[in-house]
Symmetry: C2
């Protein structure tokens, strides 16, 4: 059965997020001064062929651990949908 | 009132996603051969000070249009949560 994994990989909250800081400053320069605490990470989607949703989640979790997330500096969260 | 915008910025489906292709090949080399159609984009979160959720959404939408998304090659979707 085909599942879709929706993965967010974000810098750990404790770490400085220079990219987020840069985006925040640019938004303020564009007049959007009511925006704070910008954090920038990766959003990854993938199709997973698996017997069950749990099996698909396991595969996506493994993909994050092995490749997508740098566990020293990033955390990840993932959701699985059918199709 | 403080809201959080959760924004996903992804390459348009019609376009080739070389980064996604590279991730897909790497995952196959790592033994995760049941993964296809990997797409890689950005996930941005930000705190927005606004009177209502609609006003916060408008600000986040403007941030995407003005800065975060390259409208020629990317699409974006956003959700607003309280706090």
């Amino acid at each position: 059965m085909k599942y879709t994994a929706h993965i967010n990989i974000m810098p750990l909250k404790e770490l400085l997020d220079p990219q987020g800081k840069a985006v925040s400053n640019s938004l303020h320069n564009l007049g959007l001064t009511n925006v704070q605490g910008v954090r920038v990470g990766k959003h990854v989607t993938m199709q997973v062929e698996a017997a069950t949703a749990d099996a698909a989640e396991k595969t996506a979790h493994e993909a994050c651990k092995k490749l997508l997330a740098n566990q020293v500096m990033e955390g990840f969260e993932l959701t699985i949908t059918e199709g």
